[in-house]
Subunit: 243 residues, 2 copies
């Protein structure tokens, strides 16, 4: 599996993905699941993928037009005029790749299935995030549902539900995502470090705030340890229940 979150706050967007890929517990590796395209000053598009690795790699290659020689490439993702058009392009590409691999047509529990989070900003549009389904359709983030998760979404959801605040700073948002990821890593072997992080500030049209967070990252370590301690301390303060 995988764990990715795309979140919108007032200041912009924050994306985080893990990097573990596995075909069974005896065959796992590290693979990047976050991809970014940028035309400085005009657009930034970030995609995160979950599901069958052959499917998601093929989709990314098609979006990057790797079928063409280097000099001929002009990724179509850089030619869409809105984020909605980008989401449609991603959806149709994803659907096409899955259909190519599925001998009996696409089914809902398809082994070649995948899902995608795509977010960013184009021109004067508001920064936004879409969740794209393997059927090619998609939903957009709203102020009521300010984040999308794909992959192993359940372990890390409670802290997101309780702590998200749209006015939070980027630093707090990253901390929140790290706590959510840390809870997931501690509960599920199929999600693992390092994590890829991307912060996008509204109207910056800039991709410089990216980072790979490794297992030995000191801030991650102190958040991971500190969160365990903080949970236990918080737990002690709650009233006890007698029967």
């Amino acid at each position: 599996m995988t764990y990715c979150i795309g979140m919108r706050i007032d200041r912009g967007l924050v994306f985080m993905s893990d990097t573990r890929t596995s075909a069974g517990v005896d065959n796992f590796a590290t693979s990047k699941k976050m991809f970014t395209w940028c035309t400085p000053g005009e657009r930034v598009v970030t995609i995160m993928t979950a599901g069958n690795l052959a499917t998601t790699q093929a989709m990314i290659s098609l979006l990057e037009e790797r079928s063409k020689s280097q000099e001929e490439r002009d990724p179509s993702i850089l030619r869409q005029s809105t984020m909605f058009q980008v989401a449609r392009l991603v959806g149709s590409t994803l659907k096409e790749v899955i259909a190519d691999s599925s001998p009996n047509g696409q089914t809902s529990d398809d082994q070649f299935s995948a899902s995608v989070i795509v977010g960013g900003q184009i021109g004067e549009g508001r920064p936004t995030v879409y969740l794209v389904y393997p059927q090619g359709n998609f939903i957009e983030i709203t102020d009521d549902t300010p984040f999308f998760q794909i992959g192993e979404t359940k372990y890390g959801k409670p802290i997101l539900v309780r702590t998200y605040d749209k006015e939070m700073s980027f630093e707090e948002a990253i901390k929140l995502l790290l706590v959510s990821f840390d809870s997931t890593v501690k509960s599920n072997l199929s999600v693992g470090l390092p994590f890829d992080l991307m912060v996008y500030e509204t109207d910056s049209f800039d991709t410089s705030r990216q980072k790979r967070i490794e297992q030995d990252d000191p801030v991650y370590q102190s958040i991971s340890t500190g969160w365990g301690d903080a949970l236990r301390d918080a737990f002690q303060l709650l009233p006890s229940y007698s029967v």
Copy 2:
């Protein structure tokens, strides 16, 4: 779905189950999922169920010998000499009920499937808990894996993993289960209040410490609200991450 936890601590066993049952979001109801048998001074057996309600109700009825008239009943679960024998009886009954409903033989994604937690103490045996699979086989709790969950297990797992301590008091154990249940209820519509709680103190052979915890229970309310506040406070104390 469902959420049930069976946990062993040094002092004994603690069981908690939710009561929501649903066939789609437009058809839900409250149904008890925790069942207890007792021969005072000799044995206590508690069963919690998740999965197809027709399957689990039929299994409980068979274990209680409801096919016999009232005066003829002598539930076989009260005649097993060890908890291991009880788990075997539960497993074979569960497997038989599922097979009865499945026209094409049992499959792993069977719509009639169910799983069961069974725990308790018989005579001089140590109190223990088993997780029984729909195939009829089962695993026992160990000191390394001191709790079993069935149903919607993922949302409430991180807090169990981080906070469990085998030396905790019953009051703390109940608090821990309530926090785990509360995180699940807040994230998943298919798990709902009221909760059934049973506390079993080693060698007590007594079932008096049972309670149904309703939505408006003041201690549950203060744990639910307090946990949200405590999480946010704990979160503030963690170091922030800048990129």
